[in-house]
């Protein structure tokens, strides 16, 4: 019994025209709340778009104050893609050239490659106060910011040396899009993922040369390069999903959101063939458990009080329920819900000197909640949220996959499916 579909007769295809000016988006914009220099999602988005179609000179450079958190889109009762409209306007109309600083921040993989190679030198240097002051003064990277440390050995190197060979022992297989953060800064998260997937009976493989998803390039208006990388990634995903029938999972909510939802809208890179089979590891695991195909066994002595922070892109995806459902399966977890608020970092946004105040102002309601929550640590799916929360509160942040890996009784779990 499929619902009847009617021939559209002058139904608007122009998403911004679906706005009925209810103004609800302005209530949930975290930027507007702390920085009134931003014209707000309604004015920047649907209202502004109409004016820009009249005359491109209506474009206002202040649109770069948008965090691209998409909370306006989640709130909109009429499905207006307000965030996309704003990002597209920046791509189309901005006359500002990206600064050297923006290029450094945006090229997470190139910078990462260099930095992790020289990690023992780079880490202490960027941590030095004088260096941070120079970065602040010359590059306009705010001196309050601490760069995430670069790991000595990249995840990809570790994988090839220590993990790759075992993966073919499994009957079922997935590919893993690890993203820049796991590769250069925090390989442990990738290792944790492999531990869980292996325990669940899945071999984990890397894509054929993944490239940075490009989210930072997009937000810094380096569109040509972002599009190139997007095309490359879609091809790499296809090789796994279409050619080998291996779904792609990731541990970064931002990377997967960008690949699924920003590639087609913002970069015009089609992803129809891969979208449905590209997802977060927590969603992949949840599906297996929900459909009775997998059972995880947890250690009896694991006891932790954990708060989950919903990153903006998880709010938009609606997927935080998978991560929280998995965490709640761990018997020893005392789970604390946080009201979903933006942390303010928005990738490279918060690193820029001009945005520091806004960034911290946006995050304050979240930080206050965390500080008063009395938890052992905070769980979240986004790496930049992790940095921001760790920089701005006294709490440590863990990825749900790492928490699961820590709490998982690998042997008992494996036994269940090996029988």
């Amino acid at each position: 019994m499929k619902k009847e579909i009617f021939e559209p007769f002058n139904s608007s295809d122009n998403n911004f025209e679906q706005c009925v000016k209810c103004t609800i988006c302005t209530v949930y914009c975290p930027v507007l709340e702390v920085n009134p220099d931003y014209p707000g999602p309604k004015q920047s988005g649907p209202d502004g778009e109409r004016l820009r179609l009249k005359d491109p000179n209506f474009f206002d450079e202040s649109l770069k104050l948008c965090l691209n958190c998409k909370r306006c889109e989640v709130a909109c009762p009429h499905g207006v893609k307000i965030g996309d409209i704003i990002q597209l306007a920046r791509i189309k109309y901005s006359k500002k050239k990206p600064k050297v600083r923006d290029m450094i921040l945006a090229n997470t993989d190139i910078v990462g490659t260099m930095a992790s190679t020289f990690a023992p030198i780079v880490n202490p240097i960027v941590a030095l106060k004088p260096v941070r002051l120079i970065m602040d003064g010359v590059l306009k990277i705010d001196h309050h910011r601490i760069f995430p440390k670069y790991a000595g050995m990249r995840f990809e190197t570790w994988y090839r040396r220590y993990a790759a060979s075992k993966q073919n022992d499994f009957k079922k297989h997935v590919s893993y899009f690890h993203g820049c953060y796991v590769n250069y800064n925090f390989p442990k998260q990738g290792k944790d993922l492999i531990k869980i997937m292996n325990a669940a009976g899945y071999g984990v493989h890397l894509l054929e040369k993944e490239k940075c998803c490009g989210v930072a390039l997009i937000s810094n208006n380096l569109i040509k390069q972002a599009t190139k990388q997007a095309r490359h990634n879609v091809e790499a995903f296809k090789k796994s999903i279409v050619d080998k029938n291996m779904p792609v999972i990731s541990t970064s909510s931002t990377c997967i959101f960008t690949i699924r939802d920003e590639y087609p809208h913002l970069l015009g890179v089609k992803n129809d063939e891969i979208r449905d089979k590209s997802e977060l590891a927590t969603r992949f695991l949840f599906r297996l458990i929900d459909s009775g195909k997998l059972k995880l066994v947890f250690k009896k002595d694991y006891r932790k009080r954990i708060a989950y922070h919903t990153p903006c892109h998880m709010e938009k995806l609606g997927w935080s329920i998978y991560s929280t459902a998995l965490l709640k399966m761990i018997p020893g977890i005392d789970f604390v819900s946080l009201e979903s608020r933006c942390c303010g970092i928005a990738g490279t946004y918060g690193f820029k000197k001009e945005n520091y105040k806004t960034s911290q102002g946006v995050g304050k309601p979240l930080f206050d909640q965390i500080e008063s929550s009395d938890v052992d640590f905070v769980a979240t799916d986004c790496e930049t949220c992790k940095w921001q929360i760790e920089m701005s509160t006294a709490k440590k942040v863990e990825h749900p996959i790492s928490i699961l890996a820590e709490a998982l009784d690998v042997e008992a779990t494996v036994k269940l499916w090996q029988k």
Partner: protein
């Protein structure tokens, strides 16, 4: 993903229904395609304000004379009386204090300065027991400089007929300068956010109000207090040395958003799952039952439940969609109670009884939604997605939402 009950629509009916079910231990989920129409809440819930153009004094009595097709008749007069007592109690448990009687309307002051009959009013606002008496003789209306969404002159004009001496004063405070300088953002919600941030602003404001209202018996202000922080209104009232009458501003409404937040919070604290910004794309029907729905965010992880409630709202919320010449229910393809002939949808006078306002989803007498003429056993419709009444003309929108959803919840719990 399996739940006991899934409610499509996260507005007043969806949340009321979800809270009632969750209070009885049901595992519920609400799928909401965005923030709901509670954001335009005036501060009062109407049960029945007008009948045939005449103001209603006793809604419970007047309801008896409504046509059979009216949702209230389908709930049943006895049930209405009972549920009308239950509704404010449920709201109260969510932290929303409402007062009023279902057998006697009271009045509230609208932004046009008119006394409007209503049923329940949130404690931010002032209840007037009579529409021909304004209890004070000297009133001052205060407004924030640059705030365009509160029309002091209209209120002043409306109060003239009560022989009230009304003065209007505008004032500025440095805390509001930043948003005022943004040409589009001096909105009620943004003013409320400033007050949300701390006691100091509220203190300073209250002092200013006391100063400006010296010599007056009552202060009238726009309802811009307490968006994310619940107790701002109570605090303010305790700091001002005379009665305070709040008046709604142009939506989005500050007390409305606070109500939405508190209702959702209550639902979630009871174990409910609220999916915001997700859209139900289609349903899986088996043997005249709806077994699962597929949403945009969750794709092939379908949401399953024993019973479903459709509380997706009217045209504004896209519960009902009109194309050039067809009306349809966009989520599950249910039958529509409305004119087939599109020429009959609209009246050429804006203020007339617009036929389209009466349209909704067809149901049987127990609010089971019809599809191809047959009721779906486990799918109920509640709230403004129902047809059979022009809630705007009657002043019955909130009543229909609250009471049909409580009634439907009872059907499910039976």
């Amino acid at each position: 993903m399996k739940f006991d009950n899934i409610i499509i629509g996260g507005g007043l009916s969806g949340l009321t229904c979800g809270i009632k079910l969750a209070e009885q231990g049901k595992k519920c989920a609400i799928v909401s395609s965005g923030q709901s129409a509670i954001h335009f809440f005036s501060g009062s819930f109407d049960l029945l304000g007008k009948l045939n153009g005449q103001e209603v004094k006793n809604p419970l009595e007047a309801i008896k004379t409504l046509p059979d097709a009216h949702p209230y008749q389908r709930v049943g007069i006895k049930n209405i009386a009972r549920l009308a007592v239950e509704a404010p109690q449920l709201l109260d448990r969510a932290g929303l204090q409402f007062s009023g009687k279902s057998d006697q309307n009271h009045f509230v002051l609208t932004p046009m300065g008119i006394m409007k009959p209503t049923w329940l009013t949130i404690d931010d606002f002032t209840r007037f027991e009579q529409n021909d008496v304004f209890p004070w003789k000297k009133a001052v209306i205060l407004n924030f400089s640059g705030f365009l969404d509160f029309h002091t002159l209209f209120v002043q004009d409306g109060l003239k007929k009560y022989d009230v001496d009304v003065q209007i004063k505008n004032f500025a405070m440095k805390e509001f300068e930043a948003i005022r300088r943004n040409p589009s953002e001096m909105r009620s919600t943004n003013i409320a956010k400033v007050f949300d941030q701390g006691e100091d602003v509220l203190n300073e404001f209250a002092q200013k109000v006391n100063q400006l209202s010296e010599g007056f018996e009552v202060v009238i202000l726009p309802a811009v207090f307490g968006l994310f922080t619940k107790n701002v209104v109570t605090d303010l009232k305790s700091m001002i040395n005379k009665p305070l009458v709040l008046i709604p501003a142009i939506p989005p409404s500050v007390p409305g958003i606070r109500s939405q937040i508190l209702l959702r919070k209550r639902f979630e604290e009871l174990g409910g799952t609220y999916f915001l910004g997700d859209i139900v794309e289609e349903g899986t029907f088996k043997n005249n039952r709806l077994v699962a729905v597929q949403t945009n965010n969750h794709g092939n992880i379908k949401l399953e439940a024993d019973q479903f409630v459709l509380a997706s709202g009217s045209f504004y919320s896209k519960g009902i969609v009109a194309t050039r010449d067809k009306l349809y229910e966009p989520i599950l393809g249910l039958d529509i109670d409305g004119d087939i002939d599109s020429e009959k949808w609209l009246d050429e006078k804006f203020f007339n009884d617009q036929p389209y306002m009466h349209y909704g989803v067809k149901t049987d007498s127990g609010f089971r939604a019809l599809k191809n003429g047959k009721p779906i056993e486990n799918l109920f419709a509640a709230g403004s997605v129902l047809g059979g009444a022009n809630a705007l003309k009657e002043g019955s929108g909130a009543g229909i939402s609250l009471l049909t959803s409580l009634h439907v919840a009872e059907q499910i719990l039976k």
